[in-house]
């Protein structure tokens, strides 16, 4: 189909899903914006990514096979752009020192490896009261997540928000699998401790 214009491709009738770029903004812009904002916590960047996504999607319409919905397809595109942002933010942070310092000596005794007394996990007191819908608790959690170093937050977000495969995270962020586990551990120990400090 050498002479087929982009517009013909777009509007071609098949029994599969169609793309309607004329309605993208109306139908998907807010969704994609909120998707990106949730993962980046930065309106400016999220907004830019929505635009980038639409414009680069237009260039890729030939790749759209119609197996998924338009929204799923656009979401996959913005997801890669978000990972790119993570990668840029965290590049250079994979250096040894950021991995070794910080919490090692803070939470655990350097010789015995047990919890230091002042860092003992205490019950939050929300466990029996439907914590999944406790708005105040969730907002403390969100603030604590934003305090994590960029690389840790990227790894943590990819894992838990998108349930990404560990190998994919390692590949995208250029981490070894042992670094991955160290980061997940540190991120969680820090996050939990921040929750305790700010909640109790």
């Amino acid at each position: 189909m050498p002479d087929e214009t982009i517009f013909d491709t777009l509007t071609k009738r098949t029994d599969k899903q169609l793309l309607e770029p004329d309605r993208w903004v109306e139908q998907h812009a807010d969704y994609l914006f909120s998707y990106a904002f949730n993962r980046l916590n930065d309106e400016e960047t999220a907004r830019d990514l929505v635009q980038d996504t639409f414009l680069s999607a237009l260039e890729k319409v030939d790749h759209f096979r119609g197996d998924s919905t338009e929204r799923t397809w656009l979401t996959a595109i913005i997801k890669y752009k978000i990972i790119d942002v993570y990668r840029k933010k965290s590049s250079g942070l994979v250096k040894k020192d950021t991995l070794v310092c910080e919490y090692e000596e803070e939470f655990f005794d350097p010789n015995l490896n047990n919890w230091k007394r002042e860092h003992w996990p205490q019950p939050f007191g929300v466990e029996e009261h439907d914590p999944l819908h406790n708005k105040e608790f969730i907002s403390v959690l969100k603030r604590c997540m934003q305090k994590l170093p960029a690389l840790w937050l990227s790894v943590f977000t990819m894992k838990h928000m998108d349930e990404e495969q560990t190998e994919i995270i390692c590949k995208e962020l250029r981490l070894s699998s042992s670094n991955y586990w160290v980061i997940m551990h540190r991120a969680k120990v820090n996050l939990r401790s921040c929750l305790q400090k700010n909640w109790l």
Partner: protein, 96 residues
């Protein structure tokens, strides 16, 4: 020296750093038989790490729930920006 741990069992019993590491790992993949045993032994005697484990799982649930299905957060693009964006898209379609 008072602080020296002699037996393997003692080392496992004290090692909250390792136990919390295994607690994280366990939530994503199956531990080796040895790791399972170590964690079980440790948790049997360590109330603090049992609290940690419960909270660690709660945090995972919360984070998943928070973004699951990307429920609308109420955050929206403003209309001017959308109009501009639509214009750019239309132009680009025409160009091709």
């Amino acid at each position: 020296m008072k602080n020296e741990l002699k037996t393997d069992l003692e080392k496992i019993a004290y090692n909250c750093r390792k136990a919390t590491f295994l607690i994280e790992k366990k939530q994503e993949e199956e531990l080796t038989a040895r790791e399972k045993m170590e964690l079980k032994l440790h948790l049997a005697g360590c109330y603090i790490c049992r609290v940690y484990e419960q909270q660690s799982m709660l945090i995972n649930d919360l984070v998943k729930n928070l973004f699951n299905g990307d429920k609308p957060t109420g955050i929206k693009l403003d209309d001017d920006y959308k109009a501009q964006l639509q214009k750019k898209i239309t132009e680009k379609i025409k160009k091709n």
